[in-house]
């Protein structure tokens, strides 16, 4: 049950054309080292599912700029000007959902169900007639569950079994994606000895995790961005 694996080896299992969920809301929770290895190996025609597109030349921004991403399923890419330009030039297909609807599509898939009903966006251009049903006297919209072949996740702590703990706002999509993907690859700076994690503190139980990669060095993308403090 020891899930620790080598970075190059575990990323080499991902084929071109794969669908990949990537944790993170902005930088917190983004698996920068796993993403950099995917950049090195060059798998192509990927479908990425992530809350945002990081920023230009950061995180999945690198994969997008390197032409490895055919489609991005996301909620908001306002902080990545390059991704917006590529979308406007049709160099990448982008599918947008309201943020909580994307989260729920992933959560529902991770719960082994197939879809849910919602009233979000009913009066807006994101809804078309084909998605509507009458349900108990209400007009509602059907949203389907969203699975993926892989999830790449950053955890603050793990044990050898793959029990995961996330930090502060780095939680975001991680526990949901860990449940919804067939293969879940985790990077963490801290693999603790078996028994050290309190069972009641664990965010993602080990059963959802396929592989854990120990980070010897935390990516510099995790450092405080000094430009936030330049005035």
């Amino acid at each position: 049950m020891n899930k620790q694996q080598n970075l190059q080896q575990v990323i080499s299992q991902i084929p071109s054309g794969a669908s990949i969920m990537v944790s993170g809301f902005g930088s917190p929770g983004t698996p920068f080292t796993l993403i950099d290895e995917l950049l090195n190996q060059g798998q192509k025609n990927l479908t990425l599912i992530k809350n945002d597109a990081n920023e230009s030349s950061v995180g999945i921004g690198k994969l997008i700029e390197n032409g490895q991403v055919a489609k991005l399923i996301t909620t908001h890419i306002g902080l990545n000007k390059t991704a917006i330009e590529m979308m406007n030039q049709n160099a990448i297909e982008v599918e947008f959902y309201p943020q909580g609807i994307l989260a729920e599509k992933i959560r529902i898939a991770g719960s082994g169900c197939f879809g849910f009903l919602t009233d979000i966006g009913l009066d807006t251009e994101i809804t078309d007639e084909s998605q509507l049903i009458d349900w108990q006297g209400k007009k509602l919209k059907i949203e389907s569950a969203l699975n993926a072949d892989y999830a790449l996740i950053h955890a603050n702590q793990s044990d050898m079994y793959g029990n995961l703990i996330y930090s502060a706002t780095a939680i975001n999509f991680s526990p949901l994606m860990a449940m919804a993907a067939d293969n879940v690859i985790v990077e963490t700076p801290d693999i603790v000895a078996a028994g050290r994690l309190k069972p009641e503190s664990i965010h993602t139980p080990s059963v959802f995790v396929t592989s854990v990669v120990k980070l010897d060095i935390l990516s510099t993308d995790y450092e405080i961005m000094e430009r936030h403090f330049e005035r």
Binding site: F25, G26, S27, P28, G29, N51, T74, T75, H76, I77, G78, L79, I84, V94, F96, Y97, P98, Q99, G100, I101, L102, A103, E104, I106, R107, T118, D119, I120, G121, D123, T124, E125, I126, N156, S167, A168, T169, A170, I171, N172, F173, S174, P175, L176, H203, Y222, E223, I224, E226, H228, F229
Partner: protein
């Protein structure tokens, strides 16, 4: 636009006991105008209840940002959670107040703040769920765009974020409430006149006998 004037007036909307979401941009800046004494929890879509003022370089935690990407502090009693829980809080109507920005608002309380076709389409983010599912939605925006065109309209022209969702509009020129009868002028800026305000507003304004100044 006089952002400080809008923020100063908007800070009067924040009251003890509220759970509040502040949209990206101008609304988020409201936090810096709030007193430490206020008994409120600020919700941030990325998974915080109890988000607070910007962190200094020394306080900043690389894993603790708000939905706009700024390093923030968090208050005693706060909690962190995943994105499904974060939006469960919104869709279940647990927010007392959302303060949002706008490109356009109209007399019916329809809000357009997520897309300008052909010019600005970064995605939806949390906008639709916040606008649609918060009972009390206060919009902060300049009264007119940078070309002087009215942003307070009879009918929104841009793709809407949600219909019939706005309760109050605070601009640099006026405070207006959306009612069943239409848009009611509550307060007018001391730096303008009623005549000037009406010329800068496309929507029909209902003018009550008594109007406040700010």
């Amino acid at each position: 636009m006089n952002a400080n004037k809008i923020l100063k007036r908007a800070s009067e909307e924040i009251k003890d006991g509220q759970v509040i979401n502040l949209g990206i941009g101008l609304p988020t800046m409201l936090i810096e105008h709030l007193s430490e004494e206020l008994d409120v929890f600020i919700h941030s879509e990325n998974g915080i209840l109890g988000s607070w003022k910007k962190a200094s370089r020394e306080q900043a935690n690389p894993s603790l940002i708000d939905a706009g990407g700024a390093y923030v502090t968090n208050r005693i009693g706060s909690s962190f959670f995943d994105s499904a829980v974060s939006f469960a809080i919104i869709r279940r109507g647990k927010l007392d107040l959302s303060v949002l920005g706008a490109f356009e608002v109209d007399e019916q309380g329809n809000l357009a703040n997520w897309k300008i076709p052909g010019r600005f389409s970064p995605g939806i983010g949390g906008a639709m769920e916040l606008a649609q599912k918060t009972n009390n939605v206060v919009v902060l925006c300049s009264h007119n765009d940078k070309h002087g065109n009215p942003k307070i309209l009879k009918n929104c022209k841009l793709p809407i974020t949600a219909s019939h969702c706005v309760t109050r509009i605070i601009t640099d020129k006026a405070v207006m409430d959306v009612t069943n009868e239409g848009l009611v002028l509550r307060e007018i800026s001391e730096e303008t006149t009623l005549e000037k305000l009406l010329s800068l507003t496309e929507a029909n304004l209902i003018i009550p006998e008594s109007i406040g100044y700010f």
